[in-house]
């Protein structure tokens, strides 16, 4: 009789512990301490730095890491997500290839119980990514544009090199720039073309623009790689002293170029801040935190010859 009573007591107690354990985990199975880092491309030093910094921070927090390259292709990105979701990763630190095209991948991860933390680039959806830590490219471009207007003395003709069409950063940087410059009627844009955030394409596009518009006095580029390519084309045409080049990103070679009075300005983004914050949030999520700000803007700072000594590639000294 006593044995039976003891047995039933143990069974009830056992059930209680099973329920409690499930409750503590919020009904979620604890995953391995592995973070996946998915970046749009590893063919650009800025994104290499973003990925490697995120991986280094995650490792420092005690996680295994693996970097996946989406090669600026949403289909490759989908393959990466499919591999990740069958490999017991506890979080994805994500730099999307396409603001709309990447939403489905993040939704799949969410359904699989894997939190996604976006870095730098956003996805156009609410309630899908756990948090998005985003470079405030629009406001950064506003600052660049104010300086552009000042340097060009509110007049002259200029051209614009855009990034990848469809990317939100391309839109944000261009819109921020034009929200200022378009208020000055004597500043006229004579050509605008995409060079896909690529240095070689930047050079080629600039060469053809110079043939059609030899009298321009300014170039605004959606990133530093294109700005460096454009500057190279201007050197080839002997116009590097008369045409002012403005970039965006804060890449190492752009910062050096500003110091050497070649490029005029860039917008310093902070990939280290974004990558480390994403890894830190993922760690907090693993440890039970659930309330994250859905989107967090990270300010972009104007770098010119006046303050360039405060900066290094991808950040502050």
């Amino acid at each position: 009789m006593k044995k039976i009573t003891r047995l039933s007591f143990l069974l009830v107690l056992g059930s209680f512990f099973v329920f409690s354990a499930c409750n503590n985990a919020g009904g979620e199975k604890k995953k391995a301490k592995k973070m996946a880092i998915v970046v749009s491309t590893l063919n650009n030093p800025w994104f290499v730095f973003l990925a490697e910094t995120a991986a280094a921070k995650a490792k420092a927090l005690g996680y295994e890491t693996k970097i996946f390259d989406s090669q600026n292709n949403t289909a490759t990105e989908t393959d990466n997500f499919e591999n990740i979701l069958v490999s017991d990763y506890c979080a994805i630190l994500f730099n999307p290839t396409d603001a709309d095209g990447s939403v489905a991948n993040v939704k799949k991860a969410k359904e699989a119980g894997v939190p996604v933390f976006c870095m730098d680039r956003e996805i156009n959806a609410k309630g899908v990514a756990t948090s998005q830590i985003l470079s405030d490219g629009y406001s950064g471009s506003v600052e660049i544009a104010k300086y552009f207007v000042e340097v060009l003395n509110k007049k002259g003709t200029y051209v614009e090199l855009l990034g990848i069409t469809g990317d939100n950063n391309t839109k944000a940087r261009s819109s921020g720039f034009h929200s200022v410059v378009d208020n000055y009627p004597e500043l006229k844009m004579v050509a605008q073309q995409s060079a896909d955030f690529d240095r070689n394409k930047g050079m080629e596009v600039m060469e053809s623009m110079l043939q059609a518009h030899p009298d321009i006095t300014g170039v605004f580029c959606g990133n530093d790689a294109m700005a460096m390519g454009a500057y190279q084309a201007l050197v080839g045409a002997g116009k590097e002293k008369t045409v002012k080049v403005f970039g965006f990103d804060g890449a190492d070679d752009a910062v050096k170029s500003i110091k050497e009075n070649k490029l005029v300005a860039t917008g310093m983004q902070f990939p280290k801040v974004m990558a480390e914050k994403a890894a830190q949030f993922a760690d907090e999520y693993y440890n039970g935190k659930r309330d994250f700000a859905e989107k967090i803007p990270v300010a972009v700072e104007l770098v010119t010859a006046k303050n360039v000594d405060n900066y290094i590639g991808f950040g502050k000294k």
């Binding site: 603001a99 406001s139 544009a145 944000a172 989107k295 803007p297 300010a299």
Partner: protein, 209 residues
Amino acid sequence: MNKKWIGYIILISVAGLLLYNSVYFKKLDAKGITAAAAITDLDLAQFAQQFFTKTFTPYMDSAVEMNSFVQQLKADAKGTVAKYAKTQGIGNTAYVLVKGEGTITSVNEDVVIAAINTNDNVKLNTGVYFGNAVRDVTGKIRMGDFSNTMDYNTVSTTLNKIVQTQIVVPFKAKAAKGTHLQFVACAEINTEQVNTDNILLLPVKITYK
């Protein structure tokens, strides 16, 4: 009898366990159903105008006296920014709403200078304003309220246009040396390098006396 009870206990335990794993409770906002989600469905210009009328304008009553703010900023920059200013995300820019009263001492191309009560001067911007002070100074609009950040930026640009047309342009037209006025304005503070001598204010309300 005892065996029967043991059977019941085991049955209830197993049934409980199965039921527990079959039913999940989720908060509604976990599915993205939030009040702010409706914002994107509104016309952004209309949203900006409504925000300016219904949220921003009543918020002007909370503006801090300019003299007091500057004195506190000089004494304890970090504490004063934390007490009065609003920030968005990670960065060095903070916004605060200030108010004051004074007499215009000079009118320049894009700036009106007024001497306020203690004979300190303030600079009121009358040029085109580019920035996010109007959107961000109340702390009521967050980036996460918008599915697409471009909408968030458009709201800022639209609010700047509202202030430009409704307040700044009429003020610029009427500004004259010797005019006595009361103002409410947005101040933009660089929290990394606080400089109280060079704060350019964006007027959002001007009253003449």
